[in-house]
């Protein structure tokens, strides 16, 4: 049954992958304010499901509705509009290497006509301040630190005013002591839209997730919070948590 205000609703979704054959059927419902985290040992598998959930990867079986529309029935022209509402940032956070940080951030917004150039630049500065961006905003992406790259990639998506942010492990290349630099952004985003992420940063999952989906090739389980995850008797989950030095007795 469709929820009239749901952003993403999947029913027994299995993505189509080139080099593997996932079997887990994922049913998930994402609405405003949700923080949905996909965790597990196989980051490629998690990324495939994440991309399938937001409609950028083909589906092998199951159904997917985005903003109450079946993804297979969305016309091509509307696909672009959907992409502005369901923004995705991959692990590598690719930016245009020939443009400065500021131009990278404003270009998609100028393309979609979200802002005029002057307003886009003002808004971009405000977002970089929110993200605690410390580097030169006129520098080229090649000289940015990993944290700077991911902050620029996130700022670029925020400027097109999405409703759902899908981030494929934004902490992937960041050293652990810099994880907290993204915290103010996640606090800001919590009231604005939905977040789906595939990640190995269990501290973030523990503190923020409203839905946790543990997934590997042979099984998957969905939990409403960290406590339920810790109480799980699933040996894969127990093993995963202990490998990440997370206590399963934490409450």
């Amino acid at each position: 049954m469709k929820n009239m205000h749901s952003f993403i609703q999947s029913n027994r979704l299995v993505p189509k992958c080139q080099n593997s054959s996932p079997t887990q059927e994922l049913s998930v419902h994402v609405k405003s304010g949700d923080v949905t985290c996909l965790i597990g040992t196989d980051s490629k598998l998690l990324d495939s499901y994440l991309r399938a959930l937001i409609g950028v990867q083909d589906i092998q079986s199951g159904t997917l509705t985005l903003f109450d529309k079946d993804v297979l029935e969305i016309p091509e022209r509307e696909q672009q509009f959907i992409r502005t509402k369901l923004a995705y940032v991959s692990k590598e956070a690719p930016l245009l290497s020939v443009l400065s940080v500021m131009n990278n951030i404003v270009m998609p917004a100028l393309y979609h006509g979200t802002y005029s150039r002057e307003d886009a630049l003002k808004e971009a500065k405000a977002i970089l301040h929110l993200l605690n961006f410390q580097e030169n905003e006129h520098a080229l992406p090649s000289v940015l630190e990993p944290i700077g790259r991911i902050q620029t990639a996130i700022a670029r998506t925020l400027l097109i005013q999405p409703k759902v942010l899908a981030l494929s492990d934004p902490w992937y290349k960041i050293p652990p002591h810099e994880y907290s630099l993204l915290s103010p952004f996640f606090d800001y985003w919590r009231g604005k839209g939905a977040l789906i992420t595939a990640t190995q940063n269990l501290k973030f999952v523990r503190e923020n997730a409203t839905t946790i989906i543990f997934m590997n090739q042979s099984n998957h389980e969905t939990f409403a919070d960290w406590q339920s995850l810790c109480k799980s008797k699933n040996e894969f989950i127990q093993d995963y948590l202990s490998r990440h030095n997370e206590s399963t007795t934490m409450l």
């Binding site: 950028v56 672009q80 992409r83 991959s90 690719p94 930016l95 100028l110 393309y111 979609h112 005029s116």
Partner: protein, 266 residues
């Protein structure tokens, strides 16, 4: 038997390679020039900036090199044509040959070669690098139509630049040749300028303009087409750049010949 069928297959493949390439290029060009991309006839703010950047790089930044080559062509070709044909025929024949050869043909072809070398290769490398490092994928994930944002403005930019540079080249090559002769032989050669301008027929000028606009489009689309064919290996970038340059030059010269035939016999 297998060797014979392999040989036949090879011959068939090679025979169909050129038509397949031209057909794919035609479809690519039509998609790029489709006025209603993204549900919109107009270019957006971001695409206009790309267009302006391309016109500056392909057109304005190329003015010094086009000027040098035009002046050299004027001294070498225009002046020689005038001096040589004057010995063999009358003034009207000199002007006719000057207009047909220097203004309508040489200016188009030399400008196209300069544009291919400067801008065509740069477009292929620029877009090819973006494709290689998956920068384009990041843009597609944000709903950006790559044709509309990256390729169409570049094609329009090369189209405008080719037309303007060809006109500029024609003017400079003619002027410099006449000035060279006036300085080295006699100031009476200045009278050629008035006669040349009067003999420029509006129909021929229209064909000249259309030809240059078409060549500009071809240079832009061929370069972009090959850039989009770059896969995941760094080796493919120089290969596709070389193909873009060679194919652009070949197609431009063939189209030039076809234009001539059409105008003469059409």
């Amino acid at each position: 038997m297998e060797k014979i069928s392999n040989a036949l297959g090879f011959i068939g493949y090679q025979t169909l390679r050129a038509p397949r390439y031209l057909f794919a290029l035609l479809l690519f060009t039509l998609r790029v020039l489709n006025p209603r991309q993204q549900g919109n006839y107009r270019l957006n703010q971001a695409s206009i900036r790309t267009l302006v950047g391309q016109v500056i790089f392909s057109g304005i930044d190329a003015l010094p090199v086009v000027s040098f080559i035009a002046i050299a062509t004027g001294a070498a070709v225009t002046a020689q044509i005038i001096l040589t044909i004057e010995l063999l025929g009358d003034r009207s024949e000199v002007i006719n040959i000057l207009v047909q050869v220097v203004i309508y043909e040489l200016s188009t072809l030399i400008t196209a070669i300069i544009l291919i070398g400067r801008s065509g290769s740069a477009i292929t490398v620029d877009l090819g690098n973006m494709k290689l490092s998956r920068e384009l994928e990041g843009l597609e994930m944000l709903g950006v139509n790559l044709n509309h944002f990256l390729i169409t403005p570049r094609v329009y930019g090369t189209c405008i630049s080719q037309a303007i540079l060809a006109i500029y080249f024609a003017v400079i090559a003619t002027l410099s040749g006449v000035i060279f002769l006036a300085y080295t032989q006699s100031s009476g050669y200045f009278s050629y300028l008035g006669e040349i301008s009067v003999s420029l027929h509006p129909f021929d000028l229209t064909v000249f303009l259309l030809k240059n606009l078409l060549f500009g489009v071809l240079i832009g689309t061929i370069s972009s087409f090959h850039a989009m064919k770059v896969g995941s290996s760094r080796n493919e970038l120089p290969q596709q750049t070389q193909k873009a340059i060679v194919n652009s030059i070949t197609i431009i010269f063939v189209f030039n010949a076809l234009f001539l035939l059409f105008v003469q016999y059409g």
